[in-house]
Symmetry: D3
Subunit: 212 residues, 6 copies
């Protein structure tokens, strides 16, 4: 049978990037009985808002991924230092190679090849290196980091998928002042992407490699 | 002074493409006392829904541009045959060269260089030919015709600009079943584009040529 | 379930382009019980070698598609004039729109967006127009027509898939002097593409649109 | 009003890159009463020709920017080590974020996204990160560092603008053996770029982001 | 031996495009004993300035190519109708295929793949079709027709090569009011291109295909 | 005379990359009496298979280049640490600048600009910096490291050239389990590339800069 994806790995530079970039798609995959793994490379201890106790984002990551029904054993918090990923690129690549051996994903999500943020860019480059021979690789959009975006792949979503994505992002209470976790914006983006392919809601991805 | 645009020409393959592609921006330009010209290359007589009287789209074009406060004398309905622009390309180019001589625009809006529709593609190619030496040229987005879009230029909009755009598109009652004229979609697109540059609402354009 | 492709439509400018561009993949799809449709836009009556009876390529198309186990009722010989597709582009688009309504394919194969041949280029452009909102669209490679090729998607093949592709191309006896139907070249290309993703054999495609 | 640029910031990897890349445009902006800021990231102490006293390039930077009528208080000499910008990228980004907070520029000039020199490339990447949400961003050309250049924006110049640019570059006496500060080359480049848009003289820029 | 070019064919949409695009390079090739062929697809009878006798451009083409020392027997004036090349594309392709059979060039010059003029674009597309398997193909620049240009290949020129190019263009007296035949512009362009590779003068080309 | 290449420098990130990327072309160049230099930036001591004595790859490099008839004095083993080239980029650039001064190559081969491996990417970037003003620069393909490849230049090869390439790669006995040194794959790749330009065998290159 045409390889239909069974084991999906999300590479999130920071906690919540995965929920934002492909939260609706993950929800749909999980509904369809696929196994999802989520690796956050930094829980951004250094960037926590003042007054926030240590470990806040790690805890919120746990809540958000639990709401998405990703088993806790499938969630990895790798603890790299926020903003310094270019410096740590070889160690990050090594950790991905190890994840690849343990998980053997057939589909990997990571930031797009054009993402401007230095940590996102590092995850995108090292992720391509680690998974290029074994996995389909899709780059998710982060509109404020993309000067432009290759909208090559669309995953259509239902109202329920979108609601779950919104709820997962709402778990990040320490980040909730962020414009990008507002329901209005999340709905607007899903409607905009859906319209490009004639459906109500969608998420879009850059196809870096597709292996059937 | 840095050339600030004073005479703006919109090239719309079909009536309503201009309102969709840059209606908010036109509203803002007109608010700022700039002179706007609107050329529709086809009023799509051949594509009118059954039962629609001849001249319907021409009439709706008049209402929509009037609502945008474009003087009637600045609106041109050029009457080319819908879907056959590639066949008529030289005549279309000639009509643009004439418009250019009469209007001397310093800013021209046209479909983006990647627009898939044959009529849009013809207006984009011939428009570049006609205006490349004299004008700044911006390509507007038509999401269902763009496999991908270079979001290089953003025009920020107010709530009022957006409302006027929505009202102008509502003048096309014969087309109102179209998904792309729904208020929900128009708001979603404006919010999505605004978020890319940290404002509430925006329209985005591909910069083909910018002359200062 | 993630939409796994069920109805596949191949757009071949000329008889045998489909077998060359995606013959191994079609074989694999048919093995997996998917329904395949094949539209040849020209049987190249004007280009037949001297001494070849009229209808030769049409007959060979029947043999080749039968060998691939595509039902005869799913094979369309549309009879456009070879080398003149740009002139007939609107009629070709209309025929594709009709095919789309009748077949409702979820996956369409066509020449890549960079194919230099004028007939291939026409099928690529019009195919994108006809199927952009409804189908996943993959561009196949034709190495002597591509200055460069975006090898984004790989379909892995078995020895049997490759043998069937070779056998299908061998049905075009009137073309058999062509270098590209030699077993040596077909094997070399499959091995080269396979190596890019670490398998024995593959065919590669440009992803123009992927809808899940 | 359409945001007409009021506060312009030039990011020069090394002293004299700004004068070369956009010296004519700065002259025109200053003529038009705009406020210009100039940040040089290195004064290349390590690369001074033998026999040149320490501080030579810093002093020449002062003369050149004074000739351009940029107030001394608007000129920043940041003192990073020449050729080592990739190593110091986070510190460079931090310094840009600080400049952004202090100056709030609406227009930023930096090396183009394709500039091959490692220091230029670092300023281009970090500058995009620092200013992507707030400013129009234009990349200037450095012909011997660009394999190719996207000539998207043209600023037309008068004879006086060009003369001032030439005079400003002549202030760098320690570099005057450089081919690129010869009057003949500077005139040739301005004429070549002007001809692309039908005027006598121009400078050209890559549009990375334009916010109106 | 590495194939060093021996038979060079220039495809000029209109008389004088070849001299402008690669006149210096042709001079150098001829100095080096290579054989050059020049095909002008239109002598622009329809565009002659008022008062100009019929055949003026054909005559000037003869003078210019003679000055370049291209044998008269190697110059072809094909007489297609100016501005209408897209309509005549198949006939143009047929004429190129014939030229190819007669001349067997190992190097072909044509307008670049990005040239905006409809006649130039047609020669570029059909030329690629005609010569893709047999020849190295270089696209020349026409700065007012190129939104951007891939400066991949540089041919270095001497003062004498440049002077001959200027003299050849001066033969087109009926066009001499054209800005692009001024000595000042031709020198400026040669200096600008030379500087990109560290020499005094050069012409630049887009490499479409290089066969060694 | 058109500069025909006389001094060729190959930049190989690791021993055997040069033989794989351009071994056939080197053989042809040497047949044609050109002088070839080969710089390997790492002999991968850290990556030797278990049980392999230190110096194995350095020794195999000597055998392979000797088989290609590159004089031992023209082979440089620079000893950088495998996988860590990004960290050592300035030192690598310095070593290239020195090679350039000593050798004065007119043609340089390096990995393509799209090569995903971090060491290959470093050699590609630094090589462009070091040789951009003085040399023609061609990027070779490494299919499992290229998501896509710009096949702009083709060097046609004879059966003997291909056999020598295969024999040279066979000298790397410590790597011989590698799929890419199998004769079947090397022949398949040469046939695939040859077919793109209508010959039996070829190697393909990305043209980064061509100076004639």
């Amino acid at each position: 049978m045409i390889r239909s994806f069974k084991r999906i790995l999300v590479l999130a530079p920071h906690t919540d990037d995965g929920e934002f970039g492909c939260g609706g798609t993950l929800t749909r995959f999980i509904d369809e009985q696929k196994e999802v793994f989520y690796a956050a490379f930094s829980d951004c201890e250094k960037s926590l808002p003042p007054g926030c106790p240590s470990g806040t984002l790690a805890r919120e990551l746990g809540e958000a991924t639990s709401l998405l029904k990703i088993p806790a054993a499938n969630v990895f918090n790798l603890g790299f230092e926020v903003r310094c990923f270019p410096r740590d690129r070889q160690e990050i690549l090594d950790s991905m190679v190890k994840l690849g051996k343990d998980i053997r994903p057939d589909l990997v999500f990571l930031p797009s090849s054009q993402d401007l943020h230095q940590d996102h860019g590092t995850i995108a480059s090292e992720g391509l290196r680690a998974f290029k021979l074994s996995s389909t690789i899709l780059g998710y959009e982060v509109p404020w980091n993309n000067l432009s975006f290759n909208t090559t792949c669309f995953v259509t979503l239902t109202e329920d998928h979108l609601k779950t994505k919104i709820a997962a992002l709402a778990c990040y209470r320490s980040q909730n002042q962020r414009f990008y976790s507002s329901e209005e914006f999340l709905r607007s983006l899903a409607i905009t992407r859906g319209t490009q392919v004639g459906v109500k809601y969608a998420e879009t991805f850059e196809v870096l490699r597709w292996i059937m």
